[in-house]
Amino acid sequence: MSSQHPLWQNLFRHKEDRTSEVTDMWMTTPLFDKISRRECRDLVKTMHPRHYKKGEIVFNSGDIGASIVLIRSGGIEIKAAEKLLAELMVGDFFGEVALIIDEPRTADAITCEDSELIFFLRSDLEEWVKRSPKSGAQFMLNIASVLAARLRHTNILLSLQNS
């Protein structure tokens, strides 16, 4: 009876839709390459959605970082020393360094419109790695690939600047 009640239906459908949508978004990123959708969906349930107004600071360079962030709606500007480094849109993620090391953030992140951001905390990742070591190891390989690609990109930029 309760499952037929419109109130219950709406309550659960809303949450289910959000979980499915966020799972789809993560699955299109290189971070969840070769990881099952079911595992990703279970992980999404532990993530934390937050709402930000336009121009609100998500984090500053030097802040304590503890999570990677996925943009569900809105947009983000990544800046360092007042210089714009990147403009991120729906489906993009940022702050992945904080997922690996307990070090301060290296850039500023500011919303350029009202945004909904999904935070995936390092502590949740650590618990997941303990629970599912195989998928956890794959995720770590994926994140290493992402970081290596970024490092390579930065090196190319630096060499171009020098030459």
Binding site: H48, E56, F59, N60, G62, S67, S123
Partner: protein
């Protein structure tokens, strides 16, 4: 001047820290009658939550997995009680029957010593007065112990009912409650809040698991030791030593009292038995310090010994035995919260200071 003082990271940290401590203290005062079952339930939650997670991963709902864990807890508790309680009660009654003999032996020894002191100092005192005083005191202690014993039975029955219920609800709902509470933090403090929470939770979980294992090992080692030297009620004495070991530094000293009294109660008094009882505790402590602590709870807390001793005395004075047991985890939690807050607030303050335009 006042504005810079208010905005200074140290004063801001202290203000927030005092607010958090006040809320926790108020909650502790309000929940004082339920504090013991709540603490035990949280300890069990720390141990049983991973089992519930395994059930959930295998397709059980949150309700079903929590209920399964509760059933396992009740089954293990019932099994332990049916196996250990008859043994424990027989040892308790034998201890009860022995206590008057112990008192008599100790009183006789006390009389001998006091007579010896009086005669060697050449004082004229009525030794019967001393003995009478001692007996009336012992009588008072006995009455108090009886009243406290009956109160303990009532508290134990309440515990047996409340602890499984609290543990069930903690396993089922604590995660949702925690998420909804921490998600209420403002965006600017969200990550810092979670970071502090996880550090506290991990340290407490490690500490609780560690001291449970440590207490069990100490119980087994001392039981074997007391049995080997032929002391009465070895199982009961081992259990008491294991429980008292939950209190750092002070616990092992308290654990020596009962075995020494029992060894003194032997007729005729055998001094080697007293030495052997002390040796058992000391050997158990050696095993604890050399093997158990480094491998089980080395990284769980990192507090100065003086802080630990003062904390135990203050908490023991405020909340009794349970206060002595919770002193270390509470102080360690406060330590993490304070330094986590200070680090976060100071980073923000430094950033603001550096970004201010030079005028």
């Amino acid at each position: 001047m006042i504005q810079s003082l208010v905005q200074h990271p140290l004063s801001r940290t202290l203000f927030i820290f005092c607010m958090i401590t006040t809320v926790i203290a108020l909650l502790a005062i309000l929940l004082a009658p339920l504090l013991i079952p709540i603490i035990i339930s949280f300890a069990l939650y720390a141990v049983l939550e991973p089992i519930s997670e395994i059930f959930e991963r295998n397709g059980l709902s949150r309700n079903a997995s929590s209920l399964s864990v509760l059933l396992i807890l009740v089954a293990i508790g019932g099994l332990c009680a049916s196996l250990l309680l008859p043994h424990l009660s027989s040892q308790l009654s034998s201890l009860q029957s022995q206590l008057p003999i112990v008192w008599q032996t100790i009183t006789a020894m006390g009389n001998d010593i006091s007579q010896h002191i009086i005669s060697s100092l050449g004082l004229e005192m009525q030794s019967s007065g001393l003995t009478q005083h001692f007996f009336s005191k012992a009588n008072d202690w006995g009455k108090t112990a009886l009243i406290e014993g009956s109160n303990m039975i009532i508290s134990l029955s309440i515990l047996l009912v409340l602890v499984p219920i609290f543990t069930f609800f903690l396993i089922r709902d604590f995660r949702n409650f925690r998420n909804s509470l921490l998600d209420k933090l403002p965006n600017s403090s969200f990550e810092m809040g979670w970071l502090i929470y996880y550090r506290v939770a991990r340290q407490l979980q490690e500490y609780i698991r560690g001291i449970m294992i440590q207490s069990g090992i100490m119980s087994i080692v001392t039981t074997i030791g007391f049995y080997a030297i032929g002391l009465d009620s070895p199982f009961l004495l081992g259990l008491v030593a294991g429980v008292l070991n939950l209190i750092p530094y002070v616990g092992p000293l308290l654990a020596m009292v009962l075995p020494i009294l029992l060894a003194l109660g032997q007729t005729p008094v055998e001094l080697w038995m007293v030495g052997a009882a002390i040796s058992v505790i000391l050997i158990a402590q050696l095993i604890d310090n050399v093997i158990v602590i480094p491998s089980v709870i080395a990284n769980a807390v990192n507090l100065h010994p003086l802080v630990v001793i003062v904390g135990i005395i203050v908490f023991g004075n405020l909340f009794g035995f349970i206060g002595m047991v919770i002193a270390i985890p509470v102080i360690s939690t406060m330590n993490i919260i304070y330094y986590g807050l200070y680090k976060g607030i100071k980073t923000r303050y430094d950033l603001k200071l550096n970004s201010k335009p030079v005028t």
